[in-house]
């Protein structure tokens, strides 16, 4: 091995179990990162299969394939699996792999806890998915679990609540670990304002997680005691208030949507400079914009519930506060475009996904501003317009950034280049069909089609058919993604340490594949090594 630090075998990592034990007991940030990413990929297909059940049923009006009860279970489970099983673990996996490499740390700050936070996840999802096989079926009240509806279902609710508790504990432990790593383990010279933006966005995301996952745990615990132990937090007959649940839920829920997008901003801010062969434009403003978005996420929750009946003053406050988020987000998009301006750009697959992200996420952001307008929201609320909006920000936003990140760092993980031709086909295939899938849903929503229904009026038929075709093509196209990863893991053209011509940062100074132990001797960081630099720092 050319990498000198690997020769340094201390007692604490001299012993390597093999086989399944290697993965069960691993405390190595790279192995745990891989576990998270593989788990997330599996959940992406589980949740995707549920989405295809939904799209198959909606291909034509009338009830064809599934009964309405099961349809509602699918919409609920699809959301829970995708949010807590696919998107969040993928970001945690990327953080595990890349944060120590990017700040020059030998591992995460709390490796044993890192092992626990991953291995809780399979148990959580066993509980969640087991509800599908229970007599009362899976939860069918939507992922938001609004009472009173969620309290009127079967006893499987308890399994869902305990699954959410476990996911919450896992996320909080992961977040504590990431913050402790970033604050305490940076290499000498890696000042906060020399950190890569992916590290910055994850630091802020981790604080959001610690602030709001416990609130969700509290909200679902109240549901649990209302359902099984006779309390009346949300039971109007007992003096409670179902609207209170919505307030508590969205106090968690809105920061949660930024938990799923801030790391995406970080990824894109790493990739665009690399393939533009320029430093990131406006690095410091990116950091402050991220912090501003995180702060604002705490004071806009009620825009999810404008129709519950709110005083005019409250509606105006939440409307304007929501619209203000467009300012820091706009700063980011401006900076990405300015980074590309007069750059020497090339269009490898990670860059394509990052550019797809910038364009399509912006569409999702703009429909979000439309939804923020109270009088318009009364019309759009709970319609397919909302479905189109959050799928643009989550699929072509969060998921696209994750795919960009996988293509970007895959050579570093496996030591081989992936098949660039197939990667480009994957991007164009996905981008064409994801728009066929979600763009018509805007029109469906504006025309009045409500979300979460298995049947619809005949005038919605054509757009639903188009959307379903897009769904199946997009969904099956993702098998290509798995094939590309599998092929790249098995071999191919050897990757260099730097991998990409324009890549900057510590992760590109270690060999490819990154050896199990890196930076046992911390590197020295100065402005020449730092990824980002602008005149403000």
């Amino acid at each position: 091995m050319s990498h000198t630090t690997t020769a340094d075998h201390d007692d604490h990592h001299g012993h390597h179990p093999t086989g399944i034990a290697r993965w069960l007991f691993s405390t190595n940030h790279k192995e745990i990162g891989t576990l998270y990413l593989v788990f997330s990929l599996i959940m992406f297909f589980v949740g995707g299969a549920m989405a295809l059940v939904i799209r198959a049923e909606l291909f034509a009006p009338g009830l064809q394939l599934v009964n309405p009860e099961f349809f509602n279970q699918m919409t609920t489970m699809h959301a829970l699996v995708m949010i807590f099983g696919a998107v969040m673990p993928a970001f945690v996996g990327l953080a595990n792999w890349m944060v120590p490499l990017m700040i020059g740390a030998p591992d995460m700050a709390l490796p044993r806890m890192n092992n626990w936070s991953f291995w809780i996840m399979p148990f959580a999802f066993t509980l969640l998915l087991a509800t599908l096989f229970m007599p009362s079926g899976a939860p069918a009240s939507g992922w938001t679990l609004y009472p009173p509806l969620s309290l009127q279902g079967g006893n499987s609710l308890a399994f869902v609540i305990f699954a959410i508790h476990l996911m919450g504990i896992s996320s909080i432990m992961g977040a504590i670990n990431i913050i402790a790593t970033i604050l305490n383990m940076r290499a000498p010279g890696m000042t906060l304002l020399r950190m890569p933006l992916f590290v910055w966005t994850w630091l802020i995301t981790a604080f959001l997680l610690i602030a709001v996952m416990p609130v969700l745990a509290g909200a679902v615990t109240m549901l649990l005691t209302d359902r099984f132990f006779g309390t009346s937090f949300f039971n109007a007959a007992g003096g409670g208030d179902p609207v209170l649940y919505q307030h508590i839920f969205w106090f968690f829920g809105h920061p949660e949507v930024y938990i799923m997008i801030l790391p995406a901003f970080g990824i894109v801010s790493e990739i665009i400079p690399t393939f533009s062969r320029k430093r990131l434009f406006g690095y410091t403003s990116m950091v402050y914009a991220t912090a501003a978005i995180a702060f604002l996420s705490f004071i806009v929750w009620a825009h999810h519930m404008f129709t519950v009946g709110m005083p005019l003053g409250a509606m105006l406050f939440f409307m304007y506060a929501t619209m203000i988020i467009a300012v820091p987000t706009g700063i980011k998009i401006f900076n990405w475009v300015a980074t590309m301006w007069r750059g020497s750009m090339s269009f490898e697959t990670p860059m394509l996904f990052a550019l797809g992200f910038v364009v399509l996420f912006t569409i999702g952001g703009l429909s979000g501003i439309m939804l923020a307008i109270v009088p318009a929201n009364f019309q759009y609320h709970d319609s397919y317009f909302v479905v189109a909006h959050f799928h643009y920000v989550l699929v072509t936003g969060a998921i696209y950034s994750i795919m960009a990140a996988v293509y970007y760092w895959l050579p570093k993980w496996t030591g081989y280049m992936y098949n660039e031709k197939l990667g480009k086909i994957h991007f164009w295939w996905s981008t064409v069909w994801v728009n066929v899938l979600f763009f018509p849903q805007h029109y469906l929503g504006l025309a009045g089609m409500p979300r979460r229904i298995p049947d619809y009026a005949v005038q919605f038929t054509e757009f639903n058919m188009i959307s379903s075709v897009g769904g199946f093509m997009f969904g099956f196209g993702q098998l290509l993604f798995v094939y590309i990863i599998w092929q790249c893991a098995r071999g191919g053209e050897k990757a260099t340490a730097q991998v990409w011509e324009g890549a900057r940062g510590l992760e590109w100074t270690v060999p490819s594949p990154a050896p199990l132990h890196t930076f046992d001797t911390p590197p020295l960081v100065d402005d020449s090594v730092a990824v980002h630099k602008d005149s403000l720092t």
Binding site: M113, M213, H247
Partner: protein
């Protein structure tokens, strides 16, 4: 080595304070419940009416120059096999004066059932000025099979009701009290 010990000490301190933060936020979730109640009570948002007002302590002058229309509304939760209707749909009242009206409830089922009515006042800004001295909603109501009952509400509209408000709606939803009904069935059985 000393450096390493230092670092793991700082790490544990960071992890410890973050864990405390997570626990505090779990508590904050629960704290939102009383905060929300207090907020609704102070602002009248959510149309909540206050607790019972003692009749003898009503001191306000009757404002005979002003007439406010009070609408009465009723809703029955689908789990409760009762009829529940106001006897009067509408009343013209003077602020400061005590009035009484009746709601009629009828148990259509063959079981004794305990129910609980929950009031709400619209618009929200009026709810702080709508005082009830007596209401069937203050207590649980038991109706035997087939029984009907007139249930009184005595109320007074506070003369401080904002001048732009001349219409107030008092609405009730009546729910089955499952716990109390189950106790009743057990005693009978």
């Amino acid at each position: 080595m000393g450096n390493n010990d230092n670092r793991s000490g700082t790490t544990l301190k960071t992890a410890g304070s973050l864990t405390l933060m997570a626990l505090a936020m779990f508590g904050f979730g629960y704290l939102l419940v009383p905060l929300y109640d207090k907020f609704c009570e102070i602002t009248g948002i959510g149309g909540r009416t206050g607790d019972a007002v003692v009749e003898e302590q009503l001191t306000s002058e009757v404002d005979t120059s002003r007439l406010v229309t009070v609408h009465f509304d009723s809703n029955v939760n689908s789990a409760l096999p009762w009829d529940f209707e106001p006897t009067e749909r509408m009343m013209e009242v003077h602020p400061g004066k005590l009035y009484e009206t009746m709601y009629i409830a009828h148990n259509r089922s063959s079981q004794p059932i305990v129910a609980q009515a929950v009031p709400s006042v619209a618009p929200g800004r009026a709810s702080l000025f709508f005082n009830k001295t007596e209401c069937f909603c203050f207590t649980e109501q038991l109706l035997e099979p087939g029984e009907s009952r007139d249930m009184p509400v005595r109320f007074v509209v506070d003369p401080n009701l904002p001048a732009r408000t001349d219409l107030v709606t008092l609405s009730y939803i009546i729910y089955k009290n499952d716990a109390a009904t189950a106790v009743l069935a057990a005693v009978d059985g």
